[in-house]
């Protein structure tokens, strides 16, 4: 129990946020929104880590959150650089247009 709320509720909330993010990655076509959905997935993880960290009275989980944030920032930096390169070559960021490599 954290603040009178059962830990299962925290797990539910982060699972729902995670699934919204995951479905967004698969369903949305705009590349920027894709990045936002991935951020949503990672933030669901952060929420879960902080909840468990408080439950176990253990700081390791919160330290892990810092690693996740730093890595997410690095990933988005690389992602936006690639995206701006794509925009320069193709004048669009719609991922349906990115189909030069077919199965």
């Amino acid at each position: 129990m954290l603040n009178g709320i059962s830990i299962n509720m925290y797990i539910m909330l982060s699972a729902v946020l995670f699934i919204i993010g995951a479905v967004g990655v698969m369903a949305r076509r705009n590349s920027i929104i894709l990045f936002m959905c991935i951020e949503l997935m990672l933030n669901a993880v952060n929420l879960l880590l902080v909840a468990f960290s408080t439950l176990h009275v253990d700081a390791k989980g919160q330290v892990f959150v810092f690693f996740v944030m730093a890595v997410a920032a690095a990933e988005v930096a690389v992602g936006l650089a690639i995206l701006s390169m794509i925009y320069r070559n193709m004048k669009t960021i719609d991922i349906d247009e990115l189909s030069k490599l077919k199965h």
Binding site: V25, A51, F64, I82
Partner: protein
């Protein structure tokens, strides 16, 4: 441990080379540095203790975050040898590009991530290793700035990679929630003490981590990004992805599941068996219809991933088959480097269509012979290393409940032989599109001679590598 420091130092040095203007000597410096790091794996190799404690009781570093035991050192050795071969293959890549020091730094930092993945003993270092390996690879995949195919490959790799990282992290969070620790030994201890009384979300976490790592090793049904990314990336970067990245991801998967989660082998074993079966069938059948050799090699790497997963699966109650996975990854990496070197020389225009191989035996008999040995090894034909690699994996799997996978593997390997032979037939029996001989660099000739002899040598005396942990 020392090897990790040397490679990190080289990466920093590569970034300084631009400022202090020693770009010219950077390439030989990197080659020497990688060899030095490789030599350090021998220096760190402790005399073996008894069989089971090998993974548990050797020196740990950085508050037990990293543990360079013999298994880690052996896989680091494979990665460093492959990286050395790769740098010889990629010498041109570093000459033609403008920002060469950046490329050096990216590859070296990816290697740091790969070495971390062989040696982690905490889920924090697992996550950091995966990301340190992946982020430079996203940049390298997209490194042909003007080429839309390369842009697309980098973007797809990035989206799929971060999607998989999300799963990995959610899995880590759930496992942490159940066990209260990120330490692999702690998790293993928790599972063995709980006697089955663990919350359901713990199993969900384990399965999410399995899915994430299957994404990273590109096993079906999580493989769909791999052919596109392999085809769109520059050929040398594809060679790096299918050797170093793959070996590192396998070392990580093996360490996580065979050390951390081996007490619940029955839970993830079923799922892994299904993943292996699907990978074997899908990859070999799809590869047979490919017209691009590069894409065919991508599908073939999925089928090799399935074979290495078999080793992990056979391992689920002990550590007996580690040396067979090691042998497989070495045989596969060397064979891949050789075939990508030939592909790079034959098809300079980056698409690797099979027609480029027509009549290669007339245009350059040496390249054709090397390609034959490499492909026979990848197909698993006797005398080459690839045959023994498959053989050792099969013998470890025979004593487990997953014998049915052997039947699937044998049938799909027969299909696999078809597409490897398609290239051989093109080289020896099809008329050449031009009679102009294919020129090969001196360094590539030496590399091909070494890799070909190596493939034959470890095929003739496999005992040296199989007996490495004894």
């Amino acid at each position: 441990m020392k090897g990790l420091f040397i490679i990190s130092g080289l990466g920093i040095l590569a970034m300084l080379a631009e400022i202090f203007k020693f770009k010219k000597i950077l390439y030989p410096l990197v080659l020497v540095g990688i060899l030095a790091a490789y030599a350090m794996t021998f220096v760190d190799w402790n005399p073996p203790t008894d069989h089971l404690s090998r993974l548990d009781e050797l020196t740990a570093s950085f508050s037990n975050m990293i543990r360079f035991d013999q298994v880690a050192l052996a896989f680091s050795g494979v990665i460093l040898v492959t990286a050395f071969f790769w740098f010889i293959l990629a010498s041109h890549y570093f000459e033609n590009e403008t920002n060469i020091t950046d490329h050096f730094a990216l590859v070296l930092f990816a290697l740091v991530g790969a070495l971390m993945l062989t040696s982690f003993s905490n889920m924090t270092t697992l996550f950091l290793g995966v990301e340190i390996l992946s982020i430079p690879m996203y940049v390298l995949a997209a490194s042909r700035k003007k080429d839309i195919a390369s842009n697309e490959a980098g973007f797809k790799y990035l989206i799929m990679g971060s999607f998989a990282s999300g799963f990995l992290l959610f899995g880590i969070a759930l496992v942490y929630g159940a066990t209260g620790t990120f330490d692999l030994g702690g998790i293993s201890h928790y599972i063995s003490n709980s006697h089955g009384d663990v919350p359901a979300f713990f199993y969900a976490g384990v399965i999410m981590m399995l899915i994430a790592l299957c994404f990273k090793v590109s096993a079906a049904p999580f493989h769909f990004w791999a052919p596109d990314v392999y085809e769109g990336s520059p050929t040398v970067i594809t060679a790096l992805m299918s050797t170093v990245v793959k070996t590192a991801a396998f070392a990580a998967l093996m360490r996580l599941f065979n050390v951390g989660f081996h007490h619940i082998g029955d839970v993830w074993g079923q799922i892994m068996a299904v993943v292996i079966g699907l990978s074997l069938v899908i990859s070999n059948i799809t590869a047979a219809s490919q017209q691009s050799v590069k894409r065919m090699l991508a599908y073939s790497s999925i089928s090799h991933a399935a074979f290495m997963l078999m080793g992990v699966l056979a391992n689920k109650n002990g550590f007996d088959s580690i040396s067979s996975i090691l042998y497989y990854s070495l045989a596969y990496s060397v064979g891949s480097i050789a075939s990508f070197t030939v592909l790079y020389n034959v098809s300079k225009d980056n698409n690797g269509h099979i027609e480029a191989f027509n009549g290669l035996s007339k245009r350059n008999p040496f390249l054709a012979v090397c390609m034959v040995v490499a492909l026979l090894s990848l197909a698993g034909i006797p005398v080459t290393a690839g045959f023994f690699a498959k053989y050792f994996i099969f013998t470890t799997l025979i004593g487990t409940p997953y014998k049915w996978l052997l039947g699937v593997a044998v049938v799909t390997s027969a299909i696999g032989a078809y597409y490897y032979f398609k290239v051989l037939i093109a080289m020896y029996f099809k008329p050449a599109i031009s009679t102009e001989p294919v020129k090969v660099e001196m360094s590539h000739t030496v590399l091909l001679i070494i890799t070909t002899l190596f493939t034959l040598a470890i095929g003739i005396v496999p005992g040296y590598i199989i007996g490495i942990f004894k």
